[in-house]
């Protein structure tokens, strides 16, 4: 971009073609549809991975073509990708750290177990089954046909 035409004075930016832009837009719509379709397929924990991969493909298309990152000076790209690296480090270390922390104090709905008894502090079936993390819906009665 900067010096491709050999002069240090004029700006020469890459101009993309209309078919390129239309093609990228169609691809983005396609991957959005894919994400929504994948949502309706139960893959367990792979659901998040699939969603993140398709989101990253879409993000890459936007970055490389709409934002012209493919034709951008490498120096600028370095800053942008560098920030992604740092967010990854931020997330990685924080997640790893919280995994090794002791359970929360015996707060009412936050404890996974009551440290004293090893059971849950509040005993409705829903709460016991869910480890104290579900609470009754206020004033709600199940539908007459017994759900």
């Amino acid at each position: 971009m900067a010096d491709s035409k050999g002069d240090n004075y004029h700006v020469h930016s890459h101009i993309s073609s209309i078919p390129t832009y239309v093609g990228v837009f169609m691809a983005l719509l396609f991957f959005t549809g894919l994400t929504v379709a994948a949502y309706n397929v139960r893959l367990g924990s792979a659901n998040l991975a699939v969603a993140m991969i398709t989101a990253t493909i879409k993000a890459s298309l936007v970055c490389f073509y709409f934002m012209h990152m493919k034709y951008e000076k490498k120096f600028n790209v370095l800053f942008f990708l560098g920030s992604l690296l740092f967010v990854t480090i931020f997330l990685g270390y924080t997640a790893n750290d919280t995994n090794y922390r002791a359970p929360a104090e015996n707060e009412i709905y936050g404890a996974r177990v009551d440290p004293a008894t090893g059971k849950y502090a509040y005993g409705t079936p829903a709460q016991i089954a869910s480890g104290g993390r579900f609470v009754p819906i206020p004033g709600w009665t199940p539908p007459a046909d017994g759900e």
Binding site: H10, F25, A59, P136, I137
Partner: protein, 238 residues
């Protein structure tokens, strides 16, 4: 400094730059640095999202079912299209096509406004039924039935019927702050793009100088990028 404009360069060349290329490269670097900062800015919230989701998976599952994925998908399509029109606006500006540039920028603004309208309907409904962050969480009216339905969808009945995850209030904290901050960025983007339309109509841009349009579009693409991740993370949890 008499005759300060003479022989320095074209009208658009600011006095502290030697060449238009230097001015352009500086503006571009500045915008990419700003975008890097925006990534870190939203990054903090994404980290909070992932930590909360790891701690309270049931709350995120149910919370996601309480959101309307069709509205999220419509908003995704709207923003993707607006990114397309923003890129087309930059292209038109690079070719010196003034009227087309204005048209594409205007369509981008209309899309952004459409996005905010959909957001408005989503937010007002949540506020109306009391699905709010933290201590404001107070489901009522048809919100109670929605809660029951969402739990049913996420957990297929069983022992948790008639109950909901306590930490839904944290999910809604994450939801409102992340989409709210994103929505604020959309509103700011609308303002900046309108400003670009006004400047363009006054003839400020040409094939030699379209940097402000270029970097405005870069900002707009970032707003789209963030939504590309927000949509599956908030609306499409199983």
């Amino acid at each position: 400094m008499a005759d300060a404009h003479a022989h320095h360069g074209p009208e658009y060349l600011e006095h502290h730059f030697e060449t238009p290329l230097q001015q352009f490269d500086t503006a571009k670097l500045g915008m990419w640095l700003f975008l890097a900062q925006e990534i870190l800015f939203f990054g903090g919230l994404f980290v909070a999202y992932f930590i909360f989701r790891a701690w309270y998976p049931e709350a995120f599952s149910v919370g996601s079912h309480l959101l309307d994925w069709e509205m999220g998908a419509i908003n995704t399509a709207i923003l993707l299209f607006s990114s397309f029109t923003a890129a087309m606006a930059v292209r038109s500006s690079q070719l010196g096509e003034r009227q087309k540039t204005t048209m594409f920028l205007a369509v981008t603004v209309v899309c952004a406004l459409g996005f905010m309208v959909v957001k408005y309907f989503e937010y007002t409904h949540k506020i109306h039924v009391g699905l709010l962050p933290g201590s404001l969480f107070n489901p009522q009216g048809e919100g109670l039935a929605e809660l029951a339905t969402a739990v049913g969808e996420a957990y297929e009945a069983g022992p948790v019927a008639g109950a909901y995850p306590y930490h839904l209030r944290s999910f809604f904290g994450i939801y409102f702050v992340m989409t709210g901050l994103h929505g604020l960025h959309v509103l700011i983007g609308i303002g900046v793009i309108i400003w670009m339309i006004i400047r363009n109509q006054k003839g400020a841009f040409s094939k030699d100088y379209n940097t402000p349009v270029d970097i405005t579009a870069l900002y707009w693409h970032l707003v789209d990028l963030i939504w590309i991740y927000l949509f599956p993370l908030l609306y499409l949890i199983d």
